[in-house]
Amino acid sequence: MSRRALVVACTAIYIFLMLPLLVVFPISLSSAAYMQFPPPGLSWQWYERFIDDPQWVDATVRSLYVGVATAILALALGVPLSFSLVRGRFAGRWLVDRIALAPLIVPTIILSIAVYGMFAKLKLIGEWYGLVIAHTVLALPFVVLVMSAGLRDFDRGLEQAAEGLGASRPRTLLRITLPLMRPSLVSAGLLAFISSFDELVVALFLAGPNMTLPKKMFDNILMEIDPTIAAVSVMQILLVSIVLVLIGRFGRGLKSAGR
């Protein structure tokens, strides 16, 4: 295959990848009362409907704080775990490594119904922190992957220098290691946030009557497919774009952001 044929083929594949993201923009601005393409005119009505509907707003707010809480908890648990995995020397390290990445391999539906069974007995269905715990389990592998890659590239000579100059271990960690690891921390935290913010399957089981944004979208797609969801989609795409820009600017390795 010549280079030109390759470029043509890839252009077509890129159209396939980007078309669904682009098509929601004109639909979200449609003045028609139902899904129509191309839109007969432009209006902000679907954005207004989103803002005026407390269900949509509540679901969005809930997804935001569940996502933030998940990111914080996943970092609090995942960062020390990554230190252990990369720098620790103990029996069974390979097993800990497997367990930490297992939520990525086990199909989400299995994790969902298992935790659902447990939380139903504990009366945790519908509690936002129940969802945070389950989302943290799903986000941990992302934190571990990003942090471990960062730690493996870390120049330990800098820590030895600090300790040689008399800094204590905690001081070295706080003043040298963690500041230098900031790009990895930023990427890991943002990935954990997005993984929770977008998560549907666990939320379908654990959220109970309380909607998260993906659950509200799912119900909306099943029931009445009006262009409000296109407006929500546009806002989601913009949010993800901002997060990717943040990762590119302050985080480590856009290319390591594959999930």
């Binding site: 993201l21 098509v23 648990l77 020390p80 775990l81 298992a114 943290t136 993906p214």
Partner: protein
Amino acid sequence: MFSRMSGRLLGIAPAVPALIVLFVFFLYPVVRMLGYSIEGGTFEWYAKALGEGLYLQVFLNTFEIAFWVTAICLVLGYPLGFLLATTTPGWATLGFIFVLLPLWTSVLVRTYAWMVLLGRNGVFNRAMLEAGLISDPIPMLNNFSGVLIGMVHVLLPYMVLPIYGAVRRVDPSLVSAAEGLGASNARIFRRVYLPLTLPGIFAGAVIVFVLSLGFYITPALLGGGRVIMVAVMIEQQVHQTLNWPFAAALSASLLVVTLAIYALAQRFTRSSEAA
């Protein structure tokens, strides 16, 4: 001796809080749930899951879909990964943005967009009707092809990234040598790139296939109730029929297949590295 001991203890201590959470909220509930499938010491639920034609068919459908998704992702993902790995850094960055943006966009957003594009009154059908290419809308949704399109769109980046990595690792001097010796582009691809990027192809194919097996959202929305995959059936057993032992047996079967494919893949990768 003492310092080695304390070093060892420090080694695992930071992992303990995360391990507790993973044990209590992941391993324990999953093992407990899977245990329901053999409660009362009977294997009847497995016999039902894998013996009855209806349910076996769902497993076979799931494999068939996973196979086609993997094949299509490979055909589309290889050129893309190859181009990204061999183009200039500026184009590669731009190209990566357009792979990662869909990857990180909510699966729900993308599924909704495909409904808009592929539906009976969707963008494609409308355009083709108006252009006079067709006289009746083509059914592209609520069937096998709709699920395939939606799943390929979600999983394609997982194929592109490992292939990109594999092509990057190919030593450019091998390509120059082949060119210098007069090999055609096709021959260079077949004799240099293809064998050297086989591990990347393999890694991508395994990830895509295994993720396909557990897919829920896309078949649930684009399949229109006509394309049932295992994950959809598990959800129905829990939410609608409340048949936990059967859901557990289905889950266990899905999990065993998933883990077996990973284990085989790792073994294969290790032996090919050793060779």
